[in-house]
Amino acid sequence: MQEATFLILTALAAGSQHGYGIITDVREISGGRVRLRAGTLYTALDRLRADKLIGVDREEIVENRLRRYYLLTPEGSELLAAEAARLQANAAAALSRLNLAGGTA
């Protein structure tokens, strides 16, 4: 899974969000490192919707502009949980070996 996809799913993990909300949230989650542009975001959302990993929650009109809120589907939550566990296991392995290497140096 690409990092941007992972971060988008993470942004939706706690509740539904609209497009601009996802962009600001992804920036915050990544500590300002990942700045999604609209084109990239909607390419990813389009694909995630086609794969049924996210769905549309509701629509709102705010200041004459359309906002569409997206939410994770059960399949999306499952996939995100599996990916997070995989990354965590890899990170734990890396950290433990680095500690080991530091101890023997």
Binding site: Y20, I23, R37, A38, G39, T40, L41, R65, L66, R67
Partner: protein, 186 residues
């Protein structure tokens, strides 16, 4: 009317690159995101933002829609093929004619049996028609108008009993756009 000092018109122009079904459903939504991200006093789309939108739009045009092949890799491969193939055939046919002009007579054999390439080909009745058909088909596929490409292809094949199309144009006209059009049909 949109405010001429706002980047909205520029954004709409960029959003026109997206396929029609996407625009119908999401143009206003994406525009809202772009306007929310626009800086104070910004009058037109920024360069990187524009490049990102065009790349995303072209990517969507290459992607299959609706229920089709179960395997995404095959679906992606078919999508790319359906765009690349008609353009490739058009370019090859143009080269078939243009290149022999620049080759010494002895080397013309390299590009096939001489009477089927170069100046001879261009003299065939119906040559302009055949290349014109391919240009139209390639343009329709690139514009994402798959149904029209299929309709045009069908029409070309039916009128394709033209003398020149008996050689090789018949196949190059009809084969790739059929797959392109078939892919987009619901």
């Amino acid at each position: 009317m949109t405010d001429p000092a706002s980047p909205e018109r520029g954004y709409r122009r960029l959003l026109a690159w997206y396929p029609q079904p996407f625009r119908r459903e999401q143009e206003e939504e994406v525009l809202a995101v772009l306007m929310a991200g626009a800086r104070q006093g910004q009058r037109r789309p920024r360069l990187m933002e524009s490049a990102d939108l065009i790349r995303s739009a072209l990517g969507m045009r290459l992607r299959p829609v609706g229920p089709e092949l179960p395997n995404r890799r095959w679906a992606d491969a078919l999508a790319v093929f359906s765009v690349v193939a008609p353009v490739f055939l058009l370019v090859v046919d143009i080269l078939y004619v243009a290149l022999p002009y620049h080759l010494p007579p002895g080397n013309q054999r390299f590009f096939g049996y001489p009477p089927l390439s170069g100046p001879f080909l261009i003299q065939l009745p119906g040559f302009d028609f055949a290349v014109g058909c391919q240009m139209i088909t390639a343009a329709l596929v690139l514009l994402g108008l798959r149904r029209m490409a299929l309709a045009a292809t069908t029409a070309f094949v039916f009128t394709g009993s033209w003398p020149a199309t008996r050689f090789r144009f018949r196949w190059s006209i009809c084969s790739p756009p059929v797959s392109a059009s078939w892919r987009r049909l619901p």
